[in-house]
Symmetry: C2
Subunit: 577 residues, 2 copies
């Protein structure tokens, strides 16, 4: 430090918490409670995720002046409440919507009952699932607070993903620590990107980075935490486990700062101090957590469980109902639901038709038994026959009526018994429109809508093996995994009658949907031209169905939902041009 | 003009055309055909709407490199094709996606087979239904082309709605005409805003403005045209009728330009010339169109008809099917459909239950007869009884099964006969969740989803009176307009059993939904606190249903759809705080 030359230690607490969108009072109460625990643990600085007070993302609630004013007021009250609770000496970084004239995505540095500094997010993501330019004005001021002799800069989420901005400024003006508060949604393999990114920014800033991210589910998004602290030299000082809500502590040794040789930045720099002097750490040193990275399937399974659990509980449901066909999709959804809210809260309904195989029922019943779910059978023939007789249906119309009778039955049980209906469709089906709207597509939530069919199988095998490795009975019947997939809407029907095999299908879809490659590019990569062109047409033609599909957790780079906004009415046809 | 001092006349052609999203070849062919007509009419300059080549809005198609490259290639080919067709002397302003390194919302000035200048939109709207920051990089260069001695600046849509930018620059550097090409969606009363806005910009630019807008429907959006030319002094020189696809001509007399006294702007200014000298107009003068403004109901009816017609036809349907209950909502939707695609292509299905009144059927049949629609009855009792008997349903579950049997029946007829299903719900119902998901909410398109119930009645009365004024039979049975609204899901049920009367309901909803007012603000305006709080809770609680509702044409300031993006999972409760 410039003013004492000595090595200082700051006890840092990262609050990897689950905020609730719109619950300003509840979130503030959670901050107070967490601050109490952190103060008891001797922390000097406690950092919360992005938009702690409002939850993330609050979407168009931010457009309401009353909501913005409530966020601002909740922050001011929280500062006073912290001091009143005897927690004023703990420095707290908390996210909120600032509305002092212009709406801002803001971080407050709270100390001794006052908001000592406010930082406004400079890089507002407006791609993928993000619409932050819709809501906020970007900030242009670099903010650093000196606390216990440590210079601490504030940044928010996207600031770390974009070049230019506060990390470069930190390097130019000199600070010891950059706090980066996040609402960074889970994506497969994203945790592999975060660490090298933070290491690069730490070098750029010439300072340690404390990255704190939220956990939990919010509509289509799942937040995985993965909070960490990276030293100036890139060393990982702390890394929290994914998906686990907890406070993680680190005794950060702040080394003597390197002299700053860079030109002063053009940006406005605001520096304040808490006027708390550096003191040597007297408490016994706290060991920091270093969580192992999860295997890919465990991570995806965790994301799906958290997304489902929070959708159910945050929306006030206690139980779910789903159609259990004996197939792999409904088996995986049922197992996820049992892991999320307990098998006793899962109601599996077998809805056999004339075309259902015997194993459909026995596999479904076995699954229910293994996961501890309720199980019953409702044969659909009486309802299907009533439609077929009244309307004289054949072919596709008759097939679809079977699916819609099932959907109506599940909704009736939901209305009568209060369960949330889960839709069991996977991403591959949803992509090519291989589902019946208002039939198997009914539901309040669709847990595997972003999971390609091949990954559904992979997850099922992993879940069973994971159970076996713990000496538990594998939940998913082997037969559900191994049998050839079929919608069972006509005799002997198999998915492969209408679709290529799923390995090929998923490989093409990953390019066309997730990576926005054109048909020509996919064919150039070695895929059959007719197959690719046909699949592209199927995907384009199913947009109207997807628009009415329930939400489900995003786990891929590009999920169907607010991540992918294509016109329904479109004459664009991908070709070999 | 600086170089000849004389008053010049430019024959201007505004192409108020209906572009098709994604149909790059078709849109380019339409440009060629229109250019032929304009050249034959002796035009000097022909301007098309925003993103002519790709259609507007292309949404996430712009994220595909192949789509952007195809747009760029289609423009280059169009320039060559125009010259090859002997139309090279006509100057053409056409919108396209430029992809020379960065994706741009661009306007090209095409002359003699070459793209003489490219202008990139500077103000990218990112509010309401717009996401242009998601797709495009803003331009920073002012572009003016001298053609026949007239200095013509290029601008695009939002550039005219925001302060700062090309109109101010035009005033500083001096031009004669600013061409503004638009994809400006219809909203009630928006045409009242456009003229004063353009008059202000004309004064700022010291130049006439030629505003050309597209017409037609695209998913949730309807474009009303309303193209116009405003003189430097604010005089309206031409105003096209709304919703009519045509080319509108004006012989624009270009007065001697005022001396420019302003400081040179900081922006980059690009000036090019076609090297075509000013010549006196020799053709006989063309009278310009001055269309009368439409009455409010006629304008809304026109928007709904165009939105429905284009959704049906652009998606390849030739007929529609809907449930006709005898009530006002389905009557208005059926009348709109008959106006949009002809009564012979409308299939009205009466779906009576045990609780349906006799007049339900007779009113529906009378309507079908008056609009020339097909009509049939499908009693739902056999299907409903099968569900009730199998599942033992009562109360809400039984009510909803009736609605879902109707939805499944309509979808079965759609599957069997190829009609598009129309959902008949209005905005008031959709707001408070007074509809059955997968029941009366089924459909590919929802023509009146942005029309509040009170406006539904108003439109019905207007449509009947308009028919009468032309000596035609009013299409909508008086009984459908005058009877108290009922869902007829249980004996004697009336909407007012669960909801306040619609005058009050719509007044509150207009504030809460369209204007984002909080409960406190609405109560302060004189509404009953309990009623407002209850309605706000109903609106918030129905978000999950709206998310699965079909698209329908936006006519209000804020429609349910991409205009309003609220979380489903939200603990925010509006209160009197």
């Amino acid at each position: 430090m410039e003013d004492n030359g000595a090595v200082t230690t700051l006890r840092l607490a990262l609050a990897q918490v689950n905020c609730r969108v719109g619950d300003l009072g509840g979130n503030a109460a959670m901050v107070l409670e967490t601050a109490h625990a952190a103060a008891t643990a001797g922390a000097d600085l406690l950092a919360f995720p992005e938009l702690t007070i409002t939850g993330y993302p609050p979407e168009d609630l931010v457009l309401r002046p009353g909501f913005r004013a409530a966020s601002q007021a909740a922050l001011e009250k929280l500062a006073a409440d912290l001091a009143a609770a005897g927690l004023g000496e703990l420095a707290v970084v908390v996210g909120y919507v600032d509305d002092d004239g212009l709406p801002r995505n803001a971080a407050a540095f709270v100390h001794r009952g006052a908001v000592l500094a406010r930082y406004f997010k400079q890089h507002l993501p407006n791609y993928g699932v993000f619409d932050e330019r819709r809501y906020f004005i970007p900030g242009d001021t670099f903010v650093a607070v000196r606390h216990k002799g440590v210079d601490i800069a504030l940044t928010i989420c996207e600031d770390v993903w974009q070049d230019g901005g506060p990390f470069a400024v930190a390097g130019a003006v000199g600070v010891d620590l950059v706090v980066n508060i996040n609402g960074s949604p889970y994506e497969r393999n994203k945790d592999d990107l975060r660490l090298p990114l933070l290491q690069g920014r730490a070098a750029e800033a010439g300072a340690a980075i404390a990255y704190v991210n939220t956990v939990g589910g919010q509509d289509e998004l799942v937040f995985d935490g993965d909070s960490m602290v990276v030293a100036r030299d890139g060393a990982v000082l702390l890394r929290a486990p994914q998906f686990v809500e907890d406070v993680y502590y680190l005794d950060l040794e702040v080394p003597e700062r390197l002299p700053v040789h860079l030109a002063a930045p053009a940006t406005v720099v605001e520096r304040v101090t808490t006027e708390v002097a550096a003191v040597a750490l007297t408490a016994p040193a706290l060991p920091a957590v270093h969580a192992d990275r999860m295997p890919d399937e465990a991570e995806v399974w965790g994301a799906l469980v958290v997304g489902l659990r929070d959708y159910v509980t945050k929306n006030g449901f206690r139980s779910v109902v789903l159609g259990m066909s004996g197939g792999i999709d409904s088996a995986v959804v049922a197992a996820l639901a049992a892991d999320a809210i307990g098998g006793a809260n899962v109601h599996g309904i077998s809805l056999p038709s004339a075309y259902s195989s015997d194993h459909s029922r026995s596999d479904a019943e076995l699954l229910a038994e293994r996961i501890g779910a309720h199980y019953r059978e409702v044969p659909i023939a009486p309802m299907v026959d009533a439609f077929v007789d009244s309307l004289g249906l054949t072919g596709l119309a008759e097939e679809n009526v079977q699916a819609r009778v099932r959907g109506t039955t599940l909704m009736a049980l939901s209305n009568a018994e209060g369960h949330l209906v889960l839709a069991t469709g996977n991403k591959s089906e949803l992509a090519v429109g291989y589902s019946t709207i208002y039939g198997d597509a009914v539901g309040g939530f669709a847990p595997i809508k972003d999971v390609p069919k091949t990954l559904v199988w992979q997850l099922a095998r992993w879940r069973n093996a994971d159970a076996a490795s713990r000496g538990e009975l594998p939940p998913i019947p082997e037969n559900s995994i191994s049998k050839p997939p079929s919608a069972e809407l006509r005799p002997g029907q198999l998915d492969t009658d209408s679709l290529p095999d799923y390995e090929l299908l998923d490989a093409v879809l990953e390019r066309y949907v997730d990576r926005d490659q054109g048909v020509a590019e996919i064919v150039a990569a070695g895929f059959d031209a007719d197959t690719v062109a046909r699949l592209a047409r199927l995907v384009d033609g199913a947009e109207w169905k997807r628009r009415q599909y329930p939400p489900g957790p995003k786990i891929s780079f590009k999920a169907f939902g607010k991540d992918r906004r294509l016109p329904i009415t479109s004459a664009w046809r991908e070709g070999l041009r």
